[in-house]
């Protein structure tokens, strides 16, 4: 990379950083204020070498959310069996209905086999699959008129992540990292927690940076063993040996930097070793959820076989957010252990919901009780919903991108609020359809970003997360 102009190096990255730090300090949520000063120095050097322009001049709007956690139910969580109550569908159970489906085997209408009840405070209807989530549905905001473009898993997951149903575009987390940077230069801005049992369709492509600088790609953390690839120094290297080598290296690199003034990336490289060393210390501590109290761990379901795995990821997600990670994406399920329930809706969704319900509700409660829900955005997504008709003659449902439900919670949102509505069968939006573009525009807006102004020039086009579409659904905002 060509070193940026001396002028820009001296002023603009620092002032942009400053702006973020100052804004951040105002909220006073991070207990790690001691990091701030170091951050200003280390961060500046790192970012100075990084062609990050992002929003250019700080946020476009006053940010309502400072950080985001997204829980991705992979395979297609059925809206009509979880968060979109359709009594008419039950009434017409078993009657014919004419629609085109992905597998081309539209059966009869299939009323939800699950019982729906209201949350006492907000009155939101939630099915018996998600009793814990129902208990905190007063914190939820629902969009019941989501529309996606593809009925095919990989493109649909890609669209939810990148805005495009095609391969090869940056994911939302990468855009956020690019636009806002991280609050903690010791950690990546965008962390991904895949399901240890499975990967989503497309795996690494789903959190890639594509044409954005690679530093913005999602960094997968594991919840067992080494949290990060190459984090641990192998045992064959003795600690004294490593520290002596690092000392030797620092000397060599300092000399080299002195002999080659004006290249900011050389300073950044020196800093990057310091950061790496700090990550070696801090990441294991962050990843160690045993440090949490037993009651907290129980809240997330870490104590039970079914909920332990997602519980650990949700808890780790909270710990990462606390330390300044901008966006944590948590996957639940994948291609095999999946929400994709073509023929056995009851058993498949029951199994998945059992894993999902308690950790997610626990996360919401925990964030709320820590005051973090004020400026943390929690997003519950899936790539598409499921058909109101059964697939063929089975007791399952096919893919349904024409209408489905996503839930949101936290920063700047109306709580216990429903936006948009599906028709009486959950087949098509009855009002206010929300496209994935709209959805992304809304999320960016909550972070203070105008989706039309977060752009990156690539192969002839100023690319956006929202392509040439999108409207922030401000009706959701408190």
């Amino acid at each position: 990379m060509i070193s940026p102009s001396a002028v820009r190096r001296r002023f603009s990255p620092l002032s942009r950083r400053r702006l973020l730090f100052d804004a951040g300090a105002g909220f006073g949520w991070v207990a790690l204020s001691w990091l701030t000063q170091r951050k200003a120095l280390a961060g500046m050097a790192l970012r100075g070498a990084d062609p990050t322009s992002g929003t250019g001049r700080g946020p476009h709007f006053v940010p309502r959310a400072k950080r985001v956690i997204q829980i991705f139910a992979v395979g297609g969580m059925s809206h009509v069996d979880t968060l979109d109550y359709k009594p008419e569908l039950s009434r017409r159970n078993g009657t014919p209905f004419n629609m085109t489906t992905f597998f081309g085997q539209a059966g009869h209408l299939y009323g939800s086999p699950f019982e729906f009840r209201r949350n006492r405070e907000s009155g939101l209807w939630v099915s018996s699959l998600l009793p814990h989530l129902r208990d905190c549905a007063d914190k939820l905001t629902l969009i019941q008129s989501m529309v996606s473009n593809s009925a095919n898993h990989m493109p649909a997951v890609a669209q939810m992540n990148t805005g495009f149903a095609l391969s090869g575009f940056p994911s939302m987390g990468a855009w956020m990292s690019y636009g806002l940077g991280t609050e903690n230069e010791d950690l990546p801005a965008f962390v991904v927690l895949p399901d240890p049992a499975d990967h989503p369709w497309g795996s690494g492509l789903q959190w890639g940076a594509s044409f954005l600088p690679a530093s913005h790609q999602g960094t997968p953390f594991r919840t067992s063993g080494d949290a990060l690839a190459d984090l641990t120094t192998p045992e064959s290297v003795r600690p004294a040996q490593r520290s002596a080598s690092l000392e030797w290296l620092a000397r060599m690199n300092r000399v080299y930097q002195r002999e080659h003034p004006g290249d900011s990336s050389l300073q950044a490289r020196i800093s990057s070793y310091e950061l790496a060393a700090r990550m070696q210390l801090s990441v294991p501590e962050i990843a160690d959820i045993e440090r949490e109290s037993e009651s907290t761990r129980r809240l997330y379901g870490v104590d039970s076989k079914e909920t332990e795995a997602l519980g650990r990821r949700c808890l780790l997600a909270r710990r990462l957010l606390e330390r300044g990670v901008r966006f944590v994406q948590v996957y639940h399920g994948g291609t095999k252990k999946t929400w994709d329930s073509h023929s056995r809706l009851v058993s498949d969704h029951t199994k998945m919901a059992l894993e999902y319900d308690r950790p997610v509700a626990g996360l919401l409660q925990d964030l709320d009780s820590r005051g973090m829900l004020e400026d943390t955005l929690v997003l519950g997504v899936t790539e598409f919903g499921r058909t109101p008709v059964a697939q063929g003659g089975s007791l399952g449902r096919d893919h349904h991108p024409e209408c489905f439900t996503c839930w949101l919670a936290g920063a700047g949102l109306k709580r216990g609020f429903v936006y948009g509505a599906s028709d009486e069968l959950g087949y098509k939006p009855a009002e206010n359809p929300v496209t994935i573009y709209d959805y992304h525009a809304t999320v960016l807006h909550l972070l203070g970003i105008d989706h039309k102004r977060l752009t990156y020039y690539h192969n002839g086009i100023e690319r956006r997360l929202t392509d040439v579409h999108g409207r922030a659904v401000t009706e959701l905002f408190a």
């Binding site: 990379m1 070193s3 940026p4 102009s5 001396a6 002028v7 820009r8 790192l46 070498a49 322009s53 250019g56 085109t100 992905f102 081309g104 085997q105 593809s150 009925a151 095919n152 898993h153 493109p155 149903a165 095609l166 391969s167 090869g168 990546p188 369709w201 795996s203 690494g204 594509s210 044409f211 600088p213 690679a214 530093s215 690839a229 190459d230 641990t232 192998p234 064959s236 290297v237 040996q241 002596a244 080598s245 030797w248 290296l249 060599m252 080659h260 004006g262 990336s265 050389l266 990057s272 070793y273 950061l275 790496a276 291609t335 023929s343 063929g392 003659g393 089975s394 192969n459 002839g460």
Partner: protein, 1011 residues
């Protein structure tokens, strides 16, 4: 004064050399007033909101009034007080190409009139798009290099230097002195071969005092086979070369690597770029067709493939997937060779360049016959020769097999009835088809013969999977049914070697092969804990689970399984002649759930064997057998036909002709097998397309008029009219397009490649984005130089190597990279080339350099890629790749031979910005992150190379610490250590061993950066 000068210089960088007299008149009337247009065209290259060179942003009135580091730029109403006017009027601005008097006057009048900001500029620029007057669409000019007299003596020789010097001088910059030789050999070695020079090469170069030493160095590097590997990798970036499908399944493309070898070899042979380009567009049809030409079309199809989308049951979705694929292909063709984003005109006219939507579809018509796929690597001549050898043999084999069958089938029937000592009074009816797999894999009852695959063999009278074959590969199927089947029975004799973990459908009958909506029934073992025999069926419509008893886990047993599908839709399973589970009728009201019809010409039977399950024999009946009949069949047993028995069942005459026929067959088969199968390549799979239509908004449901193949009208000289009909032969379309595009009269074709080469040598092109010479790509920094180079390139017969040499022999390229504060203040981005821009090595170069330094490098060129990952096949043929680290020599090949898989992560290379192969990457982004540091610190590969490096030194040099340190520096950095460095290093080696130092050297900035 200093302040004025700085502004002048900043502005100069945006310099634009439009030939028109009054530049304010360029463009259409809706592009705002003259001054607005001038600012946009002349100033915004530097003074935009992004760059704001010298703090000055001229995109808005407010920012212009506020001015930059040197104060306000504009005082409305007062030209004489406005910095902008004083610079423009003095001719200092735009530097190097002062405005004509008429345009200056436009400026003055505008300021005097109060500087009305009557049109938004910048992001909402008055010039919103290019038209046919855009610089890159103009024919190549033949610019005269500036006169040598105005150039310092040592910068006179190369015209490149004279062009560069003139621009520099106008901006108040001086060139840097030449680099020292050590720096120079390292720079040229990495630039041309992607590898560090050995210390011996460095020493030899330092010692060569002849004036031709540098030129000899360049020649030597250009002649090295390593050159093609380096520049091949660059090209593979541009053309998004992938060896997997991407998308959902991301299946490997096993035979994509020949394209990589073709690219490397083309660079090494200095294949004229014109031919290189034409081959990649139409090498399979351009006469004379060569193997290279066939392989080259891999370019067209290296993009991602949504195989699952193609199998959607919804036709419009399949059509959409195809349209998306075509957009990707057209985008790659046009960006790679024309520097234009034609793909942007799929849904509407191009927003920035003069490319009508119609022309997107004309280009699409040229490629509509191209599909992703595999083909035989045979030129038409070779194919003909092969056919002439193979066809008569195959015909003769089939003929003899038929003769033999005519004798053997009746004999088998007789044998069967004789062997079947009836244990019951019932006799099973004759099967519709029967495969004993004893002597061959033919249907001994009818004509439903099996098409064998190389992954499945016959052995011990069984059908058996070749060791190590994946379950999805060990499938053989029969030719299609000759008549339709409705009621039926599948019967299989299965050897269970061990209980399978995954579900296996040993025998099935199915209609057309497709991922979704396939109609199928089959004998399946559930695998897993259930260990149950089931009917495998479309969407499990006709499958009952938990119906039968789990199969025991014991080994080596022969089991008969039969499934009867009756006209009343009921399904019955049998095991070893006894009912297995309960008969059932699927409780479904839809037709897909009921008894299926397998169609003539469409339905086939397929067998899938594995290490766990092998097939002894299989039968298909055209009736649903009764329980008694199944039992009779079981008791009769499978028909293990030994040849002697068969012969005994024949008349002597039959037996002797069978003997003859078999002998003849054996001879023919030996001859047939001696003809090797042609190599498969992943390349354009071409079919004559249907008509191409313009699609309104790109919507496949909104077909407009028919479109025939053609080029772009904005490209001058070569006519975009191909004179082809809408239904012209496929080959003609691509040939015409290749000839139109790769053409000496097409200026943008030559400019694009020249700029690419410049980009890789200097870290930055004369045009910033190598894939966009359209409006969004902006103006070149050195338009005359670009045209001069492009002209030389064409005149030189499109030799890329000579282009390299021409550039690398220049003083511009040989400058030192030293940083000078004064020059930085003028041109911090070094766009005017006052020094060599230092840069970090690419991930591949870093990895290769470690291998070279450690001595572990394996120089094997070409062939199948090495695979640093473990491949795991998941549900539905979806692949997962886990990184694998290995010190085996096969893994120590250069990184360009790594298999490029879309979803296979590699922590080391990914962190060093190696691109995803699905993404076109005309220039790499360079980041510096803590994850890189972690990789270099702890990655097993790095640590292994460090140890190997230490071993290498110890084996090369006497065991003296000083010598060890010295040698380590020489090998890794191409120099001897300084006094201080020696002291630090001796200390480190003394306390922690030599590999600590070796590890450290890999981590130094000096090792990772190029100066």
């Amino acid at each position: 004064m200093r302040r004025n000068r700085a502004i002048a210089v900043f502005l100069s960088i945006a310099g634009l050399a439009l030939a028109s007299q009054t530049r304010s008149e360029v463009g259409s009337p809706d592009q705002g007033s003259g001054a607005m247009r001038l600012i946009t065209a002349e100033c915004l290259g530097c003074h935009n909101s992004e760059l704001a060179t010298s703090g000055l942003d001229l995109t808005q009135l407010e920012s212009t009034l506020r001015g930059g580091d040197h104060g306000p730029a504009l005082v409305p109403g007062h030209p004489e007080s406005s910095l902008l006017w004083s610079k423009v009027s003095s001719g200092e601005m735009p530097p190097g190409s002062p405005l004509p008097a008429a345009d200056r006057e436009v400026f003055r009048e505008w300021i005097a009139a109060g500087a009305p900001w009557d049109h938004p500029i910048g992001s909402e620029s008055p010039i919103k798009r290019s038209d046919s007057n855009w610089w890159s669409f103009q024919p190549l000019r033949k610019p005269q290099p500036p006169s040598p007299e105005t150039t310092p003596e040592h910068w006179r020789t190369s015209p490149i230097d004279r062009f560069v010097y003139a621009r520099m001088k106008a901006a108040g910059l001086d060139p840097s002195p030449p680099s020292d030789r050590r720096t120079l050999i390292r720079r040229t070695s990495y630039d041309l071969t992607g590898l560090p020079p050995s210390f011996e090469e460095v020493s030899a170069f330092l010692d060569d005092s002849s004036p031709e030493a540098y030129e000899k160095l360049i020649d030597r590097l250009l002649a090295s086979p390593r050159y093609g590997e380096r520049w091949g990798r660059h090209w593979l970036d541009v053309v998004r070369f992938a060896e997997s499908e991407g998308f959902e399944r991301d299946t490997l493309r096993e035979n994509a690597w020949p394209y990589r070898d073709y690219v490397i070899e083309s660079f090494n042979l200095d294949k004229p770029y014109l031919d290189f380009a034409r081959e990649q567009i139409a090498g399979d049809v351009l006469a004379p067709v060569t193997r290279d030409g066939l392989i080259a079309t891999g370019f067209l199809v290296s993009g991602p493939s949504d195989t699952v989308g193609f199998m959607s049951s919804v036709p419009v979705q399949r059509e959409m997937v195809r349209q998306d694929q075509m957009e990707e292909m057209i985008g790659t063709v046009s960006q790679t060779f024309l520097g234009l984003t034609v793909n942007c005109a799929r849904c509407h006219d191009h927003k920035y360049d003069p490319i009508p939507q119609r022309e997107y579809y004309r280009m699409k018509a040229a490629f509509d016959g191209v599909w992703q796929g595999e083909r035989d690597l045979l030129t038409p001549g070779e194919e003909r020769a092969r056919r002439e050898r193979v066809q008569p043999l195959d015909a003769r084999i089939a003929e003899i097999e038929d003769h033999l069958a005519a004798i053997e089938v009746p004999a088998r029937r007789r044998l069967l009835s004789r062997k079947a000592a009836p244990a019951t009074s019932t006799v099973a009816p004759s099967p519709f088809a029967q495969w004993t797999f004893d002597l061959d894999s033919r249907d001994s009852a009818g004509s439903l013969h099996t098409e064998m695959s190389e992954k499945v063999v016959r052995a011990e009278g069984r059908l058996r999977a070749v060791d190590g074959t994946k379950l999805t590969e060990s499938v053989v199927r029969t030719v299609p049914l000759t008549r339709e089947l409705r009621e039926k029975t599948l019967e299989a004799w299965i050897w269970m070697n061990q209980s399978p973990e995954k579900q296996v459908t040993v025998m099935k009958i199915h209609n057309t092969e497709a991922f979704l909506g396939t109609v199928v029934d089959g004998i399946m073992h559930s695998g897993g804990d259930a260990r149950e025999w089931r009917n495998f069926s479309s969407s499990s419509f006709r499958t009952a689970e938990g119906n039968g008893t789990p199969e025991a886990t014991g080994e080596d047993r022969l089991i008969q399984v039969a499934i009867c599908y009756a006209a009343d839709h009921s399904i019955r399973l049998y095991r070893n002649g006894k009912p297995y589970g309960k008969p059932y009728t699927p409780e479904l009201t839809i037709k897909e759930g009921l008894l299926q019809t397998y169609l003539a010409e469409e339905g086939r039977v397929a067998f899938n064997v594995s290490e766990d399950l092998e097939l002894e024999e299989a039968r298909l009946y055209d009736v649903a057998l009764t329980g008694e009949q199944v039992e009779a069949s079981y008791l009769t047993g499978f028909l293990n036909v030994r040849r002697e028995e068969l012969d005994e069942a024949m008349t002597p005459a039959e037996s002797s002709s069978a003997l003859e026929l078999r002998a003849e067959l054996e001879r023919l088969r030996v001859r047939r097998e001696a003809i090797p199968d042609p190599q498969k390549i992943y390349a354009a799979d071409v079919r004559q397309p249907g008509s191409t239509y313009l699609l309104e908004r790109g919507d496949p449901n909104a077909k407009q008029e028919k479109v025939s193949a053609g080029g772009l009208s904005c490209v001058p000289a070569a006519s975009p009219e191909f004179g082809l009909d809408a239904d012209a032969p496929e080959a003609d379309r691509r040939i015409r397009l290749a000839e139109w595009m790769a053409n000496p009269r097409n200026p943008i074709f030559a400019r694009t490649m020249v700029n690419r080469v410049w980009h890789y040598l200097f870290g930055r092109g004369l045009i910033e984005n190598p894939n966009d010479l359209g409006f969004n790509g902006g103006q070149p920094t050195h338009p005359e130089l670009l045209d001069w180079l492009a002209g030389e390139f064409v005149r030189d017969g499109w030799s890329v190597k000579r282009l390299h040499k021409r550039i690398m022999m220049s003083q511009t390229y040989r400058q030192s990279s030293d940083w000078r504060e004064r020059s930085v203040a003028i041109d911090s981005g070094n766009r005017l080339l006052w020094r060599y821009s230092p840069r970090r090595l690419e991930g591949e170069a870093i990895r290769d350099a470690m291998l070279v330094v450690s001595g572990q490098i394996n120089w094997e060129m070409g062939g199948a890629s090495f695979r640093p990952f473990q491949e795991e096949e998941k549900f539905n043929a979806f692949e997962m790749y886990t990184p694998v680290d290995s010190g085996e020599p096969a893994f120590n090949r250069r990184t360009v031979y790594r298999m490029n898989v879309a979803s296979a992560a590699n922590p080391l290379l990914d962190s060093f910005d190696c691109p995803n192969p699905n993404v076109k990457t005309p220039k790499r982004v360079v980041t510096t992150t803590a994850l890189q540091a972690l990789s270099l610190m702890n990655n097993a590969f790095v640590l292994r190379q460090a140890r190997a490096f230490a071993d290498r030194i110890e084996s090369e040099v006497e065991s003296d610490r000083k010598h060890h340190v010295r040698r380590a520096f020489e090998i890794a950095l191409g120099r001897t250590p300084g006094r201080e460095e020696m002291a630090w290093s001796e200390d480190l080696v003394g306390k922690h061993g030599l590999s600590s130092l070796c590890w450290g050297l890999f981590n130094t900035s000096e090792f990772l950066y190029l100066n």
